[in-house]
Symmetry: C2
Subunit: 213 residues, 2 copies
């Protein structure tokens, strides 16, 4: 039942894009971020050596799939945060965080490719780094806007952004890895992302209990 399109033309015409798409489809179909160059080539209908013209090695194809993921993630996050623009910066940041986790939960395998350990050395893939950075910059912008209006605590915006990213990314990773304690994701996401704003401490600290000696 596998649909392998064998190209009539000797030259594919757009092999690069076709390989990225095929890899992405493979990955999401079986829910695992792993794929081999050869199965991707088979799916597209070319020889296993054909990709070499377009991707220096397997890692380059993985990076291209990851890069497309970062673009999609950024588009989703920006559109959702844009809808929340009418509201205050805190609501916008909340929407941003929820959108981030939503993307991960909806595209789990793609999300895992984006953060696979094989790409840890991003210096080898500059355009991937740029795509990842673009999303980060948008987050920092949100934080800075909020700080200017007094909606967030003062301090280094990069540091606050990193804290926000940590919570949201950790939540995404844990959910994608099936560590969500079997709960429905949507309400869990809402409540966890909400903790980003208020933290775990009550608004009024309790009296220090007297320690029994």
């Amino acid at each position: 039942m596998r649909e392998v399109i064998r190209r009539q033309r000797y030259h594919h015409g757009n092999l690069r894009e076709a390989l990225v798409e095929a890899a992405l489809a493979l990955v999401e179909e079986r829910g695992s971020p792993e794929f081999t160059l050869r199965e991707v080539a088979r799916r597209v209908g070319v020889t296993h050596a054909a990709p070499q013209r377009h991707f220096e090695d397997r890692a380059a194809l993985v990076a291209a799939v990851a890069e497309e993921g970062f673009h999609g993630l950024r588009a989703h996050v920006e559109s959702v945060a844009g809808l929340a623009k009418a509201r205050d910066p805190a609501a916008r940041l909340h929407a941003l965080g929820v959108a981030y986790v939503q993307f991960a939960v909806r595209n789990p395998a793609h999300f895992r490719v984006m953060f696979t350990a094989e790409l840890a050395d991003k210096s080898r893939h500059p355009s991937l780094q740029a795509a990842s950075r673009a999303m980060h910059d948008f987050l920092v912008q949100c934080i800075e806007d909020g700080q200017r209006e007094g909606f967030f605590v003062e301090g280094d915006p990069l540091e606050l952004a990193f804290a926000a990213w940590s919570l949201v990314h950790g939540l995404a990773v844990l959910l994608v890895d099936g560590r969500g304690m079997g709960r429905r994701p949507a309400p869990l996401i809402e409540s966890v992302v909400a903790r980003l704003h208020t933290g775990l401490l009550p608004r009024h600290r309790p009296k220090r209990k007297r320690r029994k000696h």
Copy 2:
């Protein structure tokens, strides 16, 4: 310069442990969570088919390495949180979080093995699941203790624990993946984990700005 210990005895005696240790050493030496069964066998000095007696497949060895990681992580976290026992539950949770991230930063490759996508289906590895759960339970315990004394907000402790875990795990993952913005890890860890308690909102909300129509 590679030290390959070829066993004199025909029977290794403790091949299972030796394989786990060799895999762990390999992984940390080169900073990547990937390893092949055959190179681990070579390092131990046995045939590539020998591991089959002790591990059903490669995934089983990966799971064993991950499991050891969870035990180590739990030991580190519990000892650090234990030292902070004299202080209040909030300080204890902070120490727990910092210890979690410290472990990841100090054993990056091992940490990545623990959360590799290959083990996403943990149901196949019950003892791994147990080791992971033990750490989670300790965290929940900390939250519940703190709530009883009024140090944390009220609400479902599992949900609060999941939020705490998300922040701390996300921070660990991002740092291990080299996304720490080039800063020294220690102060960044301190400040990000501290945000878990207070959140990003100031203690007093600003007046709502009047929106220009």
